[in-house]
Amino acid sequence: MAWELATFSADLLREPEPLEGVDVELVRPGEPVRVTHVLDAVEPRIRPDARPAFPTEGKAGEGRTNRLDGVVVLSCLDFPGEERPLHEQESIVDLAGPGAAFTPYAQETCVVLTFRPGRDGNEDAEAAARRTTLQVAEGLAQPTLDAEPLDVERFEVGSAADGLPAVAALIQLSDLGPLYHQYVYGTPAGQAGLPRIVDPAELLDGAVTSGEYHWAAMRNPTICFQRNALVRSLYAEQGKRLRFAGVVLMRGYEQSADDKQRAAEAAAARAQELGADGVVITTDAGGNSHTDVMLTCRACEVAGIRTTVILAEETDPESTRPILTDWVPEADSIVSTGNLEELVGEWKPERVLGGDTLLDGTAAATTGPIPVRNYLGAANQMGQLTLGARTE
């Protein structure tokens, strides 16, 4: 049989990448390593049917996806451009020491990608880093294609007995503009037609990825969608204590009072379409997005749907004054995922990856106590972790 070799012009090469390169390091569980400037954490995933693990079209949450257990890809980038918040909002993962308790990756093998930005341009560098990170996560799962799984979980919302309360998850996704938005099938949350009902399995299967770089502790990195504790818990409770009514994705950081109110009412309407008796409302990032959550809480309660809200606190540890950024009286059932302002004890790592100097100018290896706020996902407001705050 003949063989064909087709030749194409070099013009097809894209513009030079906005990254000069990337350093790759493998860190084993518990190694005395601090990782700085962390953008995202991603679980390696691949699909045996060759569909993308992080799809931009089609529907996730069908067929089978392979995951690599105990491995996480951490992407790091020190933004090159002069944009102020990005230069103050440090994001750290400690793999040992007191900070390890606040980020859940100390027990995992971390593949740390440190991107070296090329020319100026935060958005180009970030886009390239994000794309590459997802590709690496997919590539790392490649060996699973020729192996036998340790375990296969099946996610299907089956039937449940009448009389159990119907519970939905309302999951907020930030969109405050470039570098501050989450992606739904590769589209920024603000352009993804939110609020919208999705199959809960879509969320777990790479339909939502992260590109949101606010205060590290309040971020929802990609892995928190892939392993989403709320959706997994609701699947597990289905038919036992509740009926899992579904998932609504909604936007955080609506920009005007009218838009905020409209979006809150629309989210409540989606919950009604699902027939929910109650909803758990989750939060993404801080400040303005907390107002969206409170308005959504009120809109649901007005519609007769009971609510529990998950959010983090920003309280001066020496003060007993009010502590929530925003609040409505309807928010009478709130889970606190911790106080961002508390300090985590000092620790000297033996090695630093991601960048030696923290964004506040101190040396990452010898800096003093670090506030919880700077640990990636530590006070995750989807309730991914066990951190909480209580009155003492």
Binding site: R84, P85, E88, A101, P165, V167, G177, W215, N228, A229, L230, R232, S233, L234, R241, L242, D277, G278, V280, G286, G287, N288, R306, T308, I310, E313, E314, T315, D316, P317, S319, T320, R321, P322, I323, L324, D326, W327, V328, P329, D332, S333, I334, V335, S336, T337, N339, E342, Q381, M382, G383, Q384, L385, T386, L387, G388, A389, R390, T391, E392
Partner: protein, 341 residues
């Protein structure tokens, strides 16, 4: 390891209501309930007992505190124990106030009283161990009070209020729960659907009463204040874009407008592109000047006040407000245009 014990005139054995005007005094060793307390304290020795009449403390708080803190200064105890005051309001208030003042000065302090005693609110950073409403609760209270006191005296950190048996002071502290936040949320929601509403954090916001209307704006001195992070170009005083620790005052130098060549916003909580094209939209100097020319505003205060309102704890922001308002009041300012972002 040394403790000092505070009691009122009655428990010090000085007399009843007729001796409530007794000024502060210092007695050697343990007295009255202090003897029972000493028995529970183990290695911690009560070196002195401070006593004060309830009326005297209520009527001469400043002098009483000064004298009592003076005694503490001399004795330098490892812990101050006050009460138990049970349901007695004046005694409880004295215990709470003294314990709070001692705690502020770095002396670990614990009082004991009924949870509804007004002294609980006075105790600040000091600990309060709950007791029954009357003296019949003494036997039950002393061991619990001694346990907290002895932990504090040994310089050990107390665990949660629940574990250690003191009343929550209102400080929010992190802890690792047994369940994830998601599982806790499902539990709370199902409980609420079942008619039992609980929360891990209370709401409530500060409400600021609006002041009376300005009687005549055309006579008023008006100031411009903002939290929009508006500063002279180049941010010469390094106002942070988030978590500001203070505020700044800039002379207007008779300027009619905030030119974009001279001012900018360093606020990190919103996209400042449009604001920087016209800083008057953050600090409306142009419009305010027009209103002065039209006679609708009397005069403009010739300085504007600025900070960054982004990630600032409420307690810090309240301080900024007090300080700025203090200066403005002194300058005779009658009204403020406060622009928020």
């Amino acid at each position: 390891v040394k403790a000092v014990h505070y009691v009122n005139q009655f428990f010090a054995g000085l007399g009843g209501e007729d001796k409530a005007g007794t000024p502060p005094t210092r007695l050697d060793g343990a007295v009255g309930p202090g003897r029972g307390l000493a028995a529970e304290l183990g290695d911690v020795e009560i070196v002195s007992t401070l006593a004060c009449g309830d009326d005297y403390f209520a009527e001469h708080e400043e002098e009483a505190l000064e004298a009592l803190l003076g005694y503490l200064e001399e004795d330098r105890p490892d812990v101050l124990v006050a009460g138990p005051a049970f349901g007695s309001g004046r005694y409880g208030y004295a215990c709470g106030t003294l314990a709070a003042a001692a705690a502020e000065r770095g002396i670990p302090s614990v009082a004991a009283m009924h949870p509804e005693n007004p002294g609980v609110d006075a105790a600040g950073k000091a600990y309060v161990v709950p007791t029954a409403v009357n003296v019949a609760g003494m036997r039950d209270a002393l061991p619990r009070l001694a346990r907290v006191a002895s932990t504090l005296a040994q310089g050990r950190e107390l665990g949660s209020s629940e574990e250690e048996g003191y009343l929550p002071r209102g400080f929010r502290r992190n802890y690792f729960a047994e369940k994830t936040g998601a599982e806790r949320a499902i539990d709370l929601l199902l409980a609420k659907l079942g008619g039992e509403t609980r929360t891990e954090v209370g709401g409530g916001l500060d409400r600021v009463e609006p002041p009376a209307a300005v009687p005549d704006l055309s006579e008023a001195l008006v100031a411009l204040v903002t939290e929009a992070g508006c500063v002279p170009q180049g941010n010469p005083d390094r106002l942070p874009s988030v978590r500001a620790k203070g505020w700044l005052r800039y002379d207007l130098n008779g300027e009619e407008t905030l030119a974009s060549a001279r001012y900018e916003s360093v606020h990190g909580g919103f996209d400042v592109t449009l604001a920087n094209e016209d800083p008057n939209r953050l600090v409306p100097l142009d419009t305010a000047r027009e209103l002065v020319h039209e006679g609708r505003i009397g005069r403009l205060h010739e300085a504007f006040y600025t900070t960054t309102g982004n990630g600032t704890p409420v307690v810090t922001a309240t301080r900024f407000g007090r300080e700025i308002a203090g200066e403005l009041r002194e300058a005779g300012v009658g009204a403020v245009l406060l622009s928020g972002t």
